[in-house]
Symmetry: none
Subunit: 87 residues, 2 copies
Amino acid sequence: VAYSLVSYLDRVTIDHESGTPPYRQLAAILRERIESGDLTGKLPAEKRLADEYEVAHGTVRKALDVLRDEGLVRTEPGWGSSVVERG
Amino acid sequence: VAYSLVSYLDRVTIDHESGTPPYRQLAAILRERIESGDLTGKLPAEKRLADEYEVAHGTVRKALDVLRDEGLVRTEPGWGSSVVERG
DNA sequence: CACCATTTGTTCGTATGTATG
DNA sequence: GCATACATACGAACAAATGGT
């Protein structure tokens, strides 16, 4: 799946026409970036993610909700979100 | 336009029911106060503005963002904002 | 140098109103 | 009606910079 992964991560834009909701697309993108090791430690701020992926604040929060539920990231108020270390 | 300006500045409250967002209203109010010469030199602190106009800190910051973009004010962290002198 | 108050900057949390499909 | 998204706003806490003591 290497090729599709790369091409997927390369298209770092949200497609508002594709059936999948933006927050799910963003969750998928971030999940891949985390699992591929591209994203480690502290994540960009929600506002920054919103700006970069050109979605609303609330949309980023919904995407992070998904990743939190999956145990991939943890969030601390006033500090930010970070990738959960897994042994 | 003297009368309307005065009456405008006299109504120094933010109308949360008017279609225009509070941060734009505040930007407009401050812009008028600056251009009329009512506001010179150092501006009140963001917290003070927030208290006086009864808006949130973030709303003041967004209003100042607008004025900064317009080149009307400059801001220094830990010091404050001031009206930009123009020749 | 340390300490402190003030001020701007950053961040997440939550809520509302509007619009679209 | 419902899910989704966006824009906006407010709140609360904390970090970082500044200036004075």
